[in-house]
């Protein structure tokens, strides 16, 4: 799981162009949206695409993303339980 968390941090920084943030600065329980990393609604859509493309997970209801994308911990737990690739 810790490998996956590291991988997610790297992917988020790269795919969401978080140039000023390093992997070490993202704690596993940091909120990804709002006061945490400050991601926005377009970032949320990119994360949904990333789940599909990289882990074979299709979110039927984008509202599900709110809980899944709370933090690296919640993302990693969801991916571990639902990944198809």
């Amino acid at each position: 799981m810790s490998e996956l968390k590291q991988e997610l941090k790297e992917k988020i920084i790269e795919q969401l162009n978080l140039e000023d943030i390093s992997v070490d600065e993202i704690a596993n329980d940091d909120p990804l949206f709002g006061q945490g990393l400050g991601l926005d609604s377009i970032d949320a859509l990119e994360l949904i695409v990333m789940l599909d493309k990289d882990y074979g997970i299709k979110l039927a209801d984008p509202k599900e993303g709110r809980k899944i994308f709370e933090s690296i911990n919640t993302m990693a737990a969801y991916i571990t339980a639902n990944r198809t690739t």
Binding site: Q15, L18, D20, G38, I42, L45, V49, K53
Partner: protein
């Protein structure tokens, strides 16, 4: 107020890895591609605005040019009137490549949202909290006469008292930005001849 009583308060030209403001070179970077140049310019100008890195190249170029002219003070009713030749073609190509990718044909939301040229006006408006008039025209080349006609209409009808106007074009590694701020006071006369002179000069 009559448009003839307005001036060009300042101008910015970004071309050939140089950023010029009012005849003065503010930043030069001779190596690297356009993306690298804009990133270095952002750091050189000590801007703190993480959303810059999420923008497409056209918006980044427009953002840096606007920042050069608006960072010290900006009136909230500053209209934006931009133009270019390539529209959002540079980003349209990236979107096209992403949806026709042979392995992962996905539409990237972060790319798709920039597939209109006027999105760069929105980025500048958000950055400077502008709720003003804005327009984006597509011309074959920088056309000071048409831009001046449109700006004169905004000024003479009292829609705005300041206008950030000009040309911002990106196509692959080719780029050219020339923005000027029209205001009541300024160092350059606000005429099409002067605009042509300033554009050709740099």
């Amino acid at each position: 107020m009559k448009p003839s009583s307005f001036h060009i308060a300042s101008y910015c030209r970004i071309i050939d890895n140089n950023i010029v403001k009012n005849d003065e070179v503010l930043f030069t970077e001779k190596t690297g591609d356009l993306s690298s140049f804009l990133k270095k310019a952002y750091k050189h100008m000590e801007i703190r605005y993480p959303k810059f890195f999420k923008m497409d190249t056209l918006s980044k170029l427009a953002f840096i040019a606007a920042e050069t002219l608006l960072k010290d003070s900006v009136e909230k009713n500053t209209a934006l009137v931009f133009s270019n030749k390539s529209s959002s073609l540079d980003t349209d190509r990236k979107h096209s490549a992403s949806i026709t990718d042979s392995v992962h044909p996905y539409a990237s939301p972060a790319i798709f949202v920039y597939t209109l040229p006027n999105i760069c006006l929105g980025e500048i408006s958000i950055r400077h909290s502008l709720y003003s008039e804005n327009s984006f025209f597509i011309f074959d080349e920088f056309n000071p006469r048409l831009l001046t006609d449109y700006c004169d209409s905004l000024l003479s009808t009292g829609k705005t008292e300041k206008i950030l106007c000009g040309w911002v074009d990106v196509d692959k590694q080719e780029y050219d930005a020339f923005l000027y701020l029209i205001a009541r006071t300024g160092v350059y006369p606000y005429t099409t001849d002067e605009l042509t002179r300033l554009y050709r000069k740099t």
